[in-house]
Amino acid sequence: MNPYRRSPFVIAAAILVYFFLYAPIVGLILYSFNASRTNVTFEGFIPAFSENVVMDGSLVKSSPCGLFHWYCDLAKNDDVAEAAGNTLTIAITATIISTVIGTMAALALQRYNFKIKPFSQLSLYIPIVIPEIVMGIGILTLFSQFFGCANETFNLAGDARLSLGIATVTMSHIAFMVPFVTLVVQARLQGFDKSYEEAAMDLGANEWTTFRRVTFPMILPGIMSGALLAFTLSLDDFVITFFTNGPGSTTLPIYVYGLLRRIITPQVNALSTVWILVVFLAVLMLQILQNRESKSHS
């Protein structure tokens, strides 16, 4: 009996679900080549190249970039560049910090007994069981109350006034990312045989060297997947960012959301397409790397 035999119903259902998953994305990409500026209906591809953009009403007749008119348009958009920069700055900073402290916490929770352990472990489940919006408005209240107090007490004015910005977004992101890092690393540590560390110590390595040369390299794949999860959570986050961002700290999701409530040109589709492409390539690269890693280990 072939162990991988599946009934035709299962296969058909799987194909339908994949179709459901991908149809909207394909549509999104298609409309990024739309000649229509209003982007309500698909008015065909942009037909020609020309030195300057030629419009006929709301239709783009020709453009220096031809088919890729909206991508060129996007490249010229400084707001997008700024939002992309903010998004990456926040995601990278928050990922580094949450990975470091999250891994430390995972080691502590998996290896040690200490007084505040039950509390530490329990607090990890908060972001999982409490809706994001509840955390978002809570953090907003905290920051606004704290900043209000601080600004008044120290008579801060002008640029010195504390306000919401990249720092508050990053700090809030770390708060909901750390638990995921910790839980992922903890799960990996569960399968970790202590005898490897004992062997290292037996061979003359002290605690720190043992961690650096043996424990860390061995749990690195777990840490990496924790970090990766944290990074994507940060990139994708809308709700927490929505409540904690301020002037100058707009991220891409916030920027796109802002556009959706106004006029939508195919530029948004171009931006989405670029985003999807970047994510696709990043995930693909990671998969290839992981596969190579696991092959060299087996």
Partner: protein, 307 residues
């Protein structure tokens, strides 16, 4: 000093866990306490909070109104209760649809050749990693009066010579449901897949050997063993659906107002943080109650982490 730390395992553990614990305490637990405090307060005309102890916000949430027709002093206004109920039923329906769609796909992946599993999973991850807001936008384009769905139905109807007026799908509860299902589908596929993948093939063989047909095997072996994945997936879907406001904002317009929209508006448009805080605490309590009873019945698997 070093020697003493080396022998004091408890101190080592505390030190390692301290940064995370403090961070979570300051940015998750204190905010929750603050929300509780604010929810008992009143707002002044500028939208600032006056700390007080009044249950007005909660009373208002549960239907007490002083803004009544016929000049009554007070009356029952179900607007907020309806919003809470609508959110709950939407979250419930979304979860059901998501399970129905996710299970066959997860099963398909788990039972495919190990060499192809990664690729199939990868195909689930791509839409998941495409931004949340972008995914709502994609549906907005599809569901519009001039959108692809109407165009395709139009073609079909045209070919069948049936008169057809484009359907108004955007800004309906159905649109919000479809959007929610689409947004959270991958969060159900991954944990179910994880628990299905753990089922050893010999169990299927044993079931067949003992005389179970494929349907009975599914019912008596596969489903029970994959319950941890379904439970984890439900938590990962139900809770965020309860609190999301973008999907209803964009696909529901002003027609479909959920708790999330209510809270968001109190903080931004209506500027009544005290009422918003009360609503958000009610939302939290509702999700906690559901999670508590649900996990108490089925357990809280480690599958929660894999997504």
């Amino acid at each position: 000093m070093l020697q003493r730390l080396r022998e004091n395992k408890s101190a080592q553990g505390t030190l390692l866990a301290l940064p995370t614990t403090v961070w979570l305490f300051v940015l998750l637990i204190i905010p929750l306490i603050l929300t509780l405090v604010v929810s008992f307060g009143r707002r002044n005309p500028d939208g600032n909070v006056i700390y007080d102890f009044t249950l007005d916000n909660y009373i208002r949430l549960f239907g007490y109104s002083t803004d009544c027709p016929d000049g009554q002093a007070s009356c029952f206004d179900p607007i907020y209760v309806n919003i809470l109920g609508r959110s709950l039923s939407l979250a419930f329906n979304t979860t059901m649809f998501v399970i129905a769609l996710a299970y066959p796909l997860a099963y398909f992946i788990a039972r495919s050749h190990p060499r192809r599993r990664n690729m199939y999973l990868f195909m689930v991850l791509i839409p998941l990693w495409t931004n949340f807001v972008i995914r709502v936008y994609a549906w907005m384009m599809l569901l519009r009066k001039e959108g692809a769905i109407n165009i395709i139905i139009g073609w079909v109807m045209n070919a069948l010579n049936i008169p057809f007026a484009p359907l108004e799908m955007l800004y309906t509860p159905g649109a919000v449901l479809v959007g929610m299902v689409y947004e959270f589908l991958p969060f159900m596929i991954l944990p179910i897949y994880t628990s299905l993948e753990k089922i050893d093939n010999s169990l299927y063989e044993a079931a067949a050997d003992l005389g179970a047909n494929p349907f009975k095997t599914l019912l008596r072996v596969t489903l029970p063993l994959s319950m941890p994945g379904v439970v984890a997936g439900t938590i990962l879907v139900f809770i965020p659906v309860m609190g999301t406001f973008i999907v209803s904002d964009i696909l529901g317009g002003r027609q479909v107002i959920l708790v999330g929209n209510l809270i968001q508006r109190q903080f931004l448009d209506a500027r009544d943080p005290t009422f918003g805080s009360a609503a958000s605490l009610i939302l939290m309590v509702m999700t906690l109650i559901v999670t508590y009873f649900y996990t108490r019945k089925f357990g809280f698997g480690e599958e929660i982490v894999v997504a």
